[in-house]
């Protein structure tokens, strides 16, 4: 599904990804680990088509995420580490997503409900005025409602309380079949029951890749 071949990305003199080659297949749940600055976020952003590689390539189901971003992003759900300060209210945000990505609003409401987030009473509140946990729950609900083949979570539970984390992992367990699940995390113990592969990055390189 995802194939990175000799991928190199530099920012000035800093090499963020150094000739990275890796593949992610269906039914794989991967914990992507490494110290700050190891290249995890750069790898994810390259998969999402945000970065133009200096050399090498990324292919998602055979498509280049930069040149064919619409086709590629139809199959990817992404939750960033920190919810961005989106000024749209929840209704407008759902409108953007439901029209732009053809996601059923009711499905977002359903998963939000499963995450114990009451959308109805917050529908006209700006997204950025919600609490950190509420924002994260909303983004998780959207990611699940999108029904993508590839789900990328960058520290998704950072703002969640223990109960919400349990709800989240329960939902993921129910929805992980036939997908690639990519977690960027510093806490392996939290996702160890979910993942079947662990990649460790350092200084822009994949230094260990274990499947279990």
């Amino acid at each position: 599904m995802i194939k990175c071949s000799n991928l190199t990305k530099k920012f000035g003199s800093n090499i963020s990804l150094n000739n990275v080659t890796c593949e992610f297949h269906k039914n794989e749940s991967i914990a992507l680990m490494g110290a700050n600055g190891a290249g995890k976020t750069t790898l994810i952003r390259s998969i999402l088509g945000y970065y133009h590689p200096d050399s090498g390539s990324v292919k998602i189901n055979g498509f280049d995420p930069v040149k064919n971003r619409v086709e590629v992003l139809q199959n990817i759900s992404f939750v960033p580490q920190l919810p961005p300060p989106i000024k749209l209210n929840l209704d407008e945000l759902m409108q953007y997503i439901s029209i732009g990505a053809k996601i059923d609003k009711q499905l977002i409401m359903h998963y939000a409900n499963e995450m114990k987030l009451d959308i109805t009473s917050n529908l006209h509140k700006s997204f950025f005025t919600l609490s950190g946990g509420m924002k994260q729950k909303m983004l998780i609900a959207i990611s699940l409602a999108k029904k993508s083949d590839i789900i990328i979570y960058d520290e998704p539970t950072a703002n969640l309380d223990p109960k919400a984390r349990d709800d989240f992992y329960k939902l993921l367990n129910e929805n992980e079949d036939e997908k690639v699940l990519l977690f960027v995390t510093h806490r392996l113990e939290e996702v160890k029951d979910l993942v079947n592969r662990q990649i460790y990055m350092d200084l822009g390189k994949v230094v260990s890749d274990e499947k279990f």
Binding site: Y50, H52, R69, Q74, P83, Y96, I99, A101
Partner: protein
């Protein structure tokens, strides 16, 4: 196209709720109100009276404040979203960069143009209520000139926004451009002429490629077709073309300039790393 309109619509809704939009609308609406209170419509200065005088004053003030308002509110449109990681999330959905960028341009254009236009409509409505003669020709031409100047600065702002990584730098560049173009309305041009190192034709050319200056000259020419208030400069302009052609160019040129900058901005947005 559906996504483009959606992005324009949501940007418009988001902008209308923003504090800057309230201040922006208040400034232009307030200006017109101030003119009414000051009795501009009843005064007669330099031969212009009533609504024509009011519109002329409005335009003169607009030359200075509209560009800076458009620049500072728009220049952070993409760079600000990039800064705050909003762009990273919003572009993780299958929306093409073309739809996202031009949707933002369209939404922001409507946002910046509506209060300016609305202020003019208020002036016309008030004038009509007072039983004044409505200078419809001037009204429509000013509306066109404002449309075209708004396009020019919106295009420039999107161009800056597309390549600048931080919104602070974007603001700095916007201020510099505003001061630079403003100084080339008068001060810098006069000093160039006084030094007598450059040909007068070149000085006039520099003046007329400045969208702020061409807007000003065109606005004056609607009241003073001979451009007598401008002195010898009028000879150069009216020697080159008729007043009608000049006004037409004054509308088309800033519009094209804005579209060109917006297009260049789009090309940069498309070719550069997004976050």
């Amino acid at each position: 196209m559906k996504n483009l309109y959606l992005i324009a619509y949501l940007d418009l809704k988001e902008s209308i709720r923003a504090k800057w939009f309230i201040v922006y609308s208040f400034v232009f609406g307030g200006l017109i109100a101030l003119f009414f209170i000051a009795g501009v419509t009843e005064s007669q200065v330099m031969g212009f009276s009533g609504l024509s005088r009011l519109l002329l004053m409005y335009i003169q003030i607009t030359i200075v404040i509209l560009p800076i308002f458009i620049l500072i509110t728009t220049v952070r449109s993409i760079s600000g979203d990039r800064d705050s990681h909003v762009l990273e999330y919003m572009l993780s959905f299958p929306i093409s960069l073309k739809q996202y960028y031009w949707g933002k341009v369209l939404g922001r254009f409507i946002t910046v143009y509506i209060p300016v236009l609305f202020a003019m409509i208020i002036a016309i409505a008030y004038g009509s209520f007072k039983g004044a003669n409505i200078p419809w020709g001037i009204f429509f031409l000013y509306t066109g000139l404002l449309f075209s100047m708004s396009s020019a600065f919106l295009g420039i702002a999107f161009f800056i926004s597309s390549f600048v990584k931080s919104s602070e730098i974007a603001l700095g560049i916007a201020f510099f451009i505003w001061i630079f173009l403003l100084s080339f309305i008068d001060i810098a041009l006069i000093s160039l002429m006084m030094q007598e190192r450059v040909n007068e034709g070149l000085v006039i050319f520099i003046a007329l490629i400045n969208p702020m200056e061409i807007f000003r000259v065109a606005a004056i020419s609607l009241f003073d077709p001979e451009l007598t208030v401008m002195g010898p400069v009028a000879f150069y302009i009216l020697d080159l073309m008729s007043q009608g052609v000049f006004v037409f160019i004054s509308i088309i040129y800033p519009l094209m300039l804005g579209l060109l900058f917006a297009f260049l901005g789009y090309k940069i947005f498309e070719k550069k790393d997004l976050v």
